[in-house]
């Protein structure tokens, strides 16, 4: 039997989903493959999972490429660029029909990692203490955002601040920051952020708002028999759909729980945000030939769906 150490960045809240994945792998392989699941940061920091899989410290992971754009050229595009896609179907189209998946697989393979495929998440939007109706409202707020989003906000003179995830609650409650763009309603409920900031604003920048993946160490992958690889692929496909349903359902439940004041940025400002994102697209494209191809896919899709 092969035991597979798999770390995710998710905590215990997602344990059932991963238990189901582990059960599928074990049953379908007649017990020759066993997944041992570890929750976020329990073996390596979440941001180091790509490197840890590459070196064989852990055998596989469910990670989020937003942690490692500095280590892998295509990671920024993989994790979900602002303006990249606007629906689940479109994201599937980009990955599986237009070939983004193969480009990403090629990039990871160069680092001794097998990329199994994407797992689409739910929304990724703004949570603030005060209501936000326009970009103008944001100019007097300090926002905690990921680097990619921070670059866009800076284009509108909106100040961004760095704060570790564990300090978001206190930071919001005491006014060190006025808002965060960190995840969706589901995660904001998990972190109890609704207690201190209840205005949730859909920015309309990108949906699905983030994109996880499953990575397997290449040596471990190659050591598997063809049947075992098939087992892994089937189990991944089922898991990707299961996980997506779980994340999106959680967000819908949380959004309707009465904990948030739900709001939406006006269409014009959303369009301004997406246009500002084009600078980032160009930066990403300039990183490598492969990235250029990936960005071309995004542009073609935007044209085909009538967004550009």
């Amino acid at each position: 039997t092969t035991n597979l150490r798999m770390q995710t960045y998710w905590g215990r809240e997602a344990s059932d989903v991963f238990a189901a994945f582990g059960g599928d792998v074990r049953t379908a392989s007649n017990g020759t493959l066993r997944v041992r699941h570890f929750t976020g940061s329990s073996l390596v920091p979440d941001a180091e999972m790509f490197q840890a899989v590459s070196n064989g410290t852990i055998d596989m992971c469910q990670g989020y490429a937003g942690y490692w754009p500095g280590q892998l050229d295509i990671a920024g595009i993989e994790s979900g660029l602002p303006g990249a896609w606007t629906s689940y179907d479109e994201a599937q189209y980009v990955f599986r029909h237009k070939g983004l998946l193969e480009l990403i697989r090629e990039a990871y393979a160069e680092n001794n990692v097998h990329y199994m495929g994407p797992i689409f998440g739910g929304p990724f939007d703004l949570l603030t203490k005060e209501p936000v109706n326009s970009l103008e409202d944001l100019k007097n707020m300090r926002i905690r955002a990921t680097p990619a989003v921070a670059r866009i906000l800076q284009a509108f003179d909106i100040p961004t601040v760095f704060l570790p995830g564990s300090e978001l609650y206190v930071g919001l409650s005491t006014g060190t920051i006025d808002g965060v763009i960190y995840a969706g309603t589901n995660e904001y409920v998990g972190m109890k952020l609704y207690e201190v900031a209840k205005h949730y604003t859909s920015l309309g920048m990108v949906y699905p708002g983030y994109c996880d993946q499953i990575l397997v160490n290449m040596d471990v992958w190659n050591a598997m028999s063809e049947e075992e690889q098939k087992v892994m692929e089937l189990a991944y496909e089922k898991h990707a759909s299961h996980m997506n349903t779980w994340m999106v359902s959680g967000s819908i439940d949380a959004g309707g729980s009465g904990k948030f004041e739900m709001n939406k940025l006006n269409a014009e400002d959303s369009a301004r945000l997406r246009r500002a994102a084009e600078v980032i697209w160009e930066d990403e494209a300039a990183k490598s030939e492969r990235n250029r191809k990936a960005i071309d896919i995004l542009k073609e899709t935007a044209l085909a769906t009538g967004r550009a």
């Binding site: 597979l4 329990s42 840890a52 300090e167």
Partner: protein
């Protein structure tokens, strides 16, 4: 990956650790060697990467920046002469009561605790300043040393606290919340010590006599002595307000504290180039020790968890029919046993990844549990054979005080700490009231 019984791995790793520690190998090298041995043979060469990743994660962390800052702040204030002034003030304010000097020492310990991030500062400086004064006035050795050792341990409970920062880093908790939660239990423990000193000195005044008439001052002198509080008081309030009210991040507040300490020393006219060099070098020495324990203990605990043994505890709790509160009590008992043999930093790194998920699973508030942990570590500083405050006291006390005197002196205070712990277990609001008041719930 091995399928070796987790119980066997647990026994093996901890037994090997214990042997190396007994042979006098420094803690960090013991953790490193045992972790590496088990990782290499049971995990494979990929485990070496685990070590470099653990090391880099303790370097590449914004939260931990507060560690050297708070250490620097404490050392700077200690050398600035503020402690002497404050002790003089306590002397004037309380010296006239039986047990007054002891009570004053506890109050001073709490003040120093609010200025310093580590627990050594108060024990060493008061061991130098207050112990000779108390002994000279006829205090019993046991009461005098016990008071300073127990009061000195408050440094980790009353914010700022290096131990809380490490706990927050490991458990992904907010530093502000932990600091707010530690304040009242810290003051409660100080109050318990004070009540105890007043009671024993009432029963037997000869062990804690008041100052001679000639040494006492009138109320004007008392009032004037209060000005010693102005500088340290301002600094303490500024730093804690910055953190607890979230005006800045905890790391930034620690830098404000460090800068403030330099300013205090300048005002006291004790700031010199040599003094600055000494403080910087001492900070370097303490940080070097701390960070190498940090990274090796993280590595050790990751190897332990990665070999599948981390599940041992969670499975045990989930399968057993133990009442949730019994599990908490069992964990606290475990802290007391570990506290006899291990360093508090080693304990935090080994147990937090194992215990905190269980605490959350059982539905308890992790902030509350963090405070229970810190209070348990108060005792670890006093329990023989391995107790920092015992060593500190031994190193500054006159030769007439033996290590066995110190063991005996610590016992009543350990019992008082257990009393405080029991109160916290029974009434979680003692810890949770303040954070809930500030941050809402």
């Amino acid at each position: 990956m091995s399928d070796i019984d987790p119980l066997l791995i647990t026994l093996g790793m901890f037994a090997a650790m214990f042997v190396m520690l007994l042979l006098g190998t420094p803690l960090s090298w013991s953790l490193l060697t045992v972790g590496m041995g088990f990782a290499y043979f049971l995990w494979g060469s990929g485990a070496l990467e685990l070590l470099t990743i653990s090391a880099f994660s303790s370097m590449d962390n914004f939260i931990l920046v507060a560690l050297p800052m708070f250490i620097f702040m404490g050392l700077m204030l200690e050398r600035s002469g503020i402690t002497d002034d404050l002790f003089e003030m306590m002397n004037k304010l309380m010296g006239a009561q039986p047990g007054g000097l002891g009570v004053g020492t506890i109050v001073l310990c709490a003040l120093i605790a609010a200025m310093a991030g580590v627990s050594g500062a108060a024990t060493v400086s008061l061991g130098v300043i207050a112990l000779p004064a108390m002994l000279k006035r006829g205090y019993s050795k046991k009461l005098a040393t016990g008071t300073i050792m127990a009061g000195g341990a408050l440094g980790f409970l009353i914010p700022p606290s290096v131990l809380m920062i490490l706990y927050a880093f490991l458990a992904k908790e907010s530093i502000g919340k932990l600091f707010a939660a530690g304040l009242i239990p810290g003051l409660m423990l100080a109050a318990i010590y004070i009540i105890y000193i007043l009671i024993v000195s009432r029963i037997n005044p000869s062990i804690a006599p008041p100052l001679a008439e000639a040494e006492r001052v009138d109320w004007k002198g008392k009032l004037r002595s209060l000005k010693a509080l102005i500088l340290p008081g301002t600094l303490i309030v500024t730093v804690l307000a910055c953190i607890i009210l979230g005006i800045t991040t905890p790391s930034e507040a620690s830098a404000i504290g460090a800068a403030g300490a330099v300013i205090c020393a300048a005002i006291y006219r004790t700031l010199t180039f040599n003094m600055m060099k000494d403080v910087l070098l001492d900070t370097t020495r303490i940080m070097g020790m701390l960070i190498w324990i940090t990274l090796t203990a993280i590595f050790f605990s990751k190897v332990y968890i990665g070999l599948g043994a981390g599940y041992l505890l969670q499975d045990l709790v989930e399968d057993s029919s133990l009442a949730p509160m019994a599990v908490i009590v069992a964990m606290l008992a475990c802290y007391y046993v570990l506290g006899m043999f291990l360093d508090d930093f080693a304990i935090v790194f080994i147990t937090v990844p194992l215990f905190v998920p269980v605490v959350e699973l059982l539905g308890f508030d992790p902030v509350w549990f963090a405070i229970l942990f810190i209070v348990s570590m108060q005792s670890a500083y006093l329990t023989p054979p391995f107790g920092y405050n015992l060593f500190y006291m031994r190193s500054v006390a006159p030769p007439s005080v033996t290590i066995y005197d110190l063991y005996l002196a610590a016992i009543p205070f350990i019992l008082l700490q257990i009393l405080g712990l029991a109160l916290l277990v029974m009434f979680p609001q003692i810890a949770l009231w303040l954070p809930e008041l500030i941050y809402g719930s």
